[in-house]
Symmetry: D2
Subunit: 385 residues, 4 copies
């Protein structure tokens, strides 16, 4: 008789008042009932951290002022946290992640992994040394139709890939919003908190990740033209990038935060020798499948004609849209499955991990290097993990 | 300092193995962290009920064989359930709901409310007598863009309503699926479990509800042509219905379970003297707003230009789709707010309740009566609650 | 060796200054180079008729003050007109058409055919007596994807038809435009010129025609609720109609001229036992084909996977949209083929003729009768031609 | 009193049997009744030329075996051709165009203008010397919504342009179709007939042209990565190109003939400081207009809210789609207006001419040069005409 597995004890660093992504992580953790959120260091301001803990219903004794305090204290408890979500600005990820791993805690880290490849290498070593699970929330890979796309490419449904067109367009930074005190805009355009990448780091890495995820191929080099269109902005807000894959496939990646009319328009098209796939994040329950010599078809999430890869991450019937939170929850639930090592049912687990995290950082660094050289083909460092 | 309110203790009747909607209710209850699911009578088979409870992680002592047992036992506990979700076939709703109310438990009942207006009246009396909260999960009213549409009509954005075109189309019963032993198909096409309405009851009531919800108007009479296209089917699987509102507005309602190419295609268009609104459940994050003499606009859920009515039920930024579960969760969270009577923040609470439940039953009955008379205008009974 | 056939000599009644549809007919006649426009009685005002003829480059001697004059004079010439286009308000169609037929001239008549079934019967007798070709410009049947839809139904691609949802929505008469002196609005809302049907006559007949054309079935009875929403309007501007086909299929037809946000939104969906078709006039180069158990496919006009019925009326490759004028031109070119009786190539000719014209008038009369009886099922007179 | 201007006498070189674009030019010339097609040298095979002339109804005496013969003979006639359409493979354009101009005949030349900038310069000199009108059929600029987009950019509706995303994707050359003897594929992949550009010449030039047309800006340099994915293909079939405009705007251009699922998917998005425009050729009657701080609007061709620039090239009301042939016809009709120098009505004439033709050739040459240097920023030669 099947018995529900015990819920995994979850802590969080960051994600207090005024934060956006922390709440997303918490909803994602709750949706499939695999986690119980019990501890946090929810702000770099201890006072704000405490206040946020109360508002979220944490036991005050487990709402910590700093992450160091949290790891130290939780480690002493038999019911201490098993996994931590890191939802702070990018520049602090490395230190927190390494502290968590050293405390024997699994990690779910927001993207990008960190701000330099040197940090990335240190995290990778800590992961290896700890034997713990490590996820990076390239959450769009949790969408069933993204899983479907990956499975179709792998199954040869479109033949060998020739070219990939991927883009992620937003409008929200079309004006100097960071000057207005808006918190999200402020840290994301601040090199000290965000790292050297602006649009390329915040959303370009998502586009890069999904291109590699769906094609199953590796970008070997890229060529970038980066702009900071908004006067006074210190990081790029628009990036035009060409891609070359190790396989010989080509592609184009456009990331922009100054594209009026776009909210979170992540869109990918993969063209192969015998077919093509089109998927857009804002309409995530459909995947257009075109095969040469046939009429294009509209695959929907719950159609029953999807591959096992899509069906195993689908919760509700077709025509009842799943959205961003469900895709995010899938990453969480796969981490849970991996932590509990649940056996055969685990076979399709594909949450993004340290490798994908490192690739994202390499992408950012290559783009900046290429642009600095006025657009030259620049290798994206291979990941040795 | 804001402190998280205590979670509401939730029980469930139905929703065990093989069920579909029970899992939806549980996810909806979890999403916003307002409920804790602690007891259930999850199946009409006591053995299956127990097994389902274990699989869902219920305390075995609180996984009951019957709902009567559950209400009796929970009533004795200081930490007994405060609210119950009823997710059984329609014919059993009335008895369970009344038992719950008599046990002092708030009720969240799946739709349609019940199978006869006589039952509906009894439930209404029990609600009144108990002073408890009562919700009927016409869940599509939880979508932010449906709230937006209602607010726009109310604000006069499209002028006086002239005509409403609403439809709910599915394909899943295009063949005699009920003969194959598929459980969902079996009970939904069985008058003994489903009541006298087939498509009109299962999905037509949603269409009817959303038309009244968005327009804020009342259908006074209807004219129906009902079909059972699939040989041997005992309930309607296609319904063509004309509507007349008390205000003089007109409309058309089409509900079909034999419409190939449609999954859960609930779609409504409202035309007024000076503008029109279009919304579709399968693309729920947008609302098309057309005003005479202006270009049609595409409102998106998180655009910042929405009314307060939409913004208060929005969780994440625009371009990151919210879906079916989020809309469903909004109904749950509003019930939680109502139960806790949280004050000013409650002002926009609009979850569907006993009145909407009764209207749905009246709609079914009027449609059947009209069709039986070969299509005559038939009053939809006014709700006296 | 193929030699171009001589162009057919074309005259026109109506279509002078301020007219809309006359110019459409002339472009349609020119597109495929099968006609030469050489004579006209372009207005009921002789002076305006002459002026219009000059502006259009007619030989002044063949720009007549009245249609009677034109038929009499052209009959005397060896190079007289062979066919006439009638593009006047509806009430005058019958007299002109009969005069043309009696003068031995083929007729292309705008829709609806005329304003009463008595007129329709007289035209039908004149057609029979003359042996001449007679077309009614239900022009939407000229779209390749409409031809495709008809062929697919006929070939059994969607199985026996169960229900048809058809609608034609416009916004242009949402206000009392006829009071402003706008010529198109004035005659179309004037019973003396337009006949007893408003929206049902002007656009409802198109919807009715395309439903019968695509399904190949006959509507046996209908039930109508008609409204004149704009104060002071003398004809219906919104119509909610239920359909029953002789085959047992059902359907719904909505025609509205008070639907903000709609320009010429003719849309039809046909649902059969094993599949469904969706087509919309504003996006006419695609046809959605859904089959049970398969993913819905998007057929495009030039895809090469279309039936012969679609390919023979296609001019240019897929992805280069054909539009309204091309569909209209197809009707003209098929009339030319019929006049020249060109043999095997004629096999697919399906332009709408006297039968379709009569059916349209019967539809209008049935709708008015049904609505006058507060919505009762009313037979649509069978066509005995 | 307005009198119809005399029709312009038109000849054609190329466009006989098996040709595609010749028939398009003839339909375009007919649609608005400004031309009469009276002479041709319709094939490089004199026999085929004669046969094609007969099939098209040309006077056999004016169906010539060679273009030289045609120009010589027509020059002698008082009713000789006034303008010639050149619809031959690219490599022959220059010689024919120069011969036409020297014979005093206006020219409408298919794109690209020719195959080298040296040829282009010679044509430009001949145009200047002749004083004749010269058009290059970058026909997509004839679409009303493209005119609208250009007018909106000019009027400041989206502020200063920041980035342009333009693409033209086709699938038809995904396989080595040229090996099958298909005539269109054969010449378009043959450097001797097509010139040095494959996809960049055939469709990339359209994308380039429309980007400069809509923005009113000039591309100063580009960076290209070109591929020939199909084994054995001698010209590029996929091109990933980055753009820099003289104004500082950036952009990306993708042209592909190996993109399954695409027919003629020309699509452009222009992003400015305060708004953005989106247009797609396969859905040409709409233009999405997004302004910061407002909801995106859907402009339709006949909405009445368009600028004069769009309205003057619109033939029929909104909701009745105009297509490819109408846009093409607009180029022809503007050439007619220019030839007849019709005065005030001419004010909006914007058909593409020698300058646009030269730019297209410069674009091809720059792309090939850049790709040959493994992707370096390469100037697009400024046009000195």
């Amino acid at each position: 008789m099947m018995v529900a597995p015990a819920r995994i004890r979850l802590g969080m660093v960051g994600g207090g008042e005024d934060a956006f992504i922390g709440a997303v992580h918490r909803m994602a953790a709750r949706l499939d009932d695999r986690f119980v959120f019990i501890a946090g260091a929810l702000s770099s301001s201890p006072e704000k951290a405490k206040r946020s803990g109360l508002a979220l219903g944490l036991d005050p004794a487990r709402s910590y002022g700093t992450y160091a305090e949290m790891f130290a204290s939780e480690k002493q408890r038999s019911d201490g946290i098993e996994v931590v979500s890191i939802v702070t600005p990018n520049a602090s990820h490395a230190a927190i992640a390494i502290a968590a791993l050293e405390a024997g805690v699994h990690v779910i880290c927001d993207k990008p992994l960190c701000t330099t490849s040197e940090q990335a290498a240190r995290i990778a070593r800590a992961v290896k040394a700890s034997g713990k699970r490590f996820a990076v929330t390239y959450n769009y890979t949790g969408y069933p139709m993204v899983r479907e796309a990956r499975a179709l490419v792998k199954n040869g449904a479109i033949g060998r890939v020739r070219t990939v067109q991927v883009e992620y367009a937003q409008e929200w930074l079309s004006t100097p919003l960071e000057s207005s005190g808006q918190k999200q805009a402020a840290w994301r355009t601040d090199p000290a908190q965000s790292g050297a990448g602006g649009a390329i780091g915040d959303i370009g890495t998502h586009a890069f990740n999904i291109a590699e995820f769906i094609t199953g191929e590796t970008v070997s080099e890229l060529l970038a033209d980066l702009q900071s269109f908004v006067p006074g902005r210190r990081l790029d807000d628009n990036a035009q990038i060409l891609l070359r894959f190790a396989s010989g496939s080509r592609g184009s990646l456009w990331a922009s935060q100054v594209a009026p009319g776009n909210e979170n328009a992540l869109r990918i098209r993969v063209f192969g020798e015998s077919g093509a796939l089109t998927w857009a994040q804002e309409d995530p329950n459909e995947l257009i499948v075109a095969k040469l010599g046939e009429l294009p078809r509209r695959m929907t999430r719950g159609s029953g004609l999807a591959t096992a890869a899509a069906q195993r991450v689908t919760r509700i019937p077709g025509g009842h849209p799943e959205g961003y939170l469900e895709a995010f929850a899938t990453i969480y639930s796969e981490v849970a499955q991996a932590i509990r090592a649940e056996g055969p049912a685990d076979s399709g687990i594909t949450f993004p991990g340290i490798v994908e995290g490192i690739r994202g950082v390499s992408f950012i660094e290559a783009a900046i290097r290429s642009a600095a050289a006025n657009g030259t083909w620049t290798p994206v460092a291979a990941c040795s993990v």
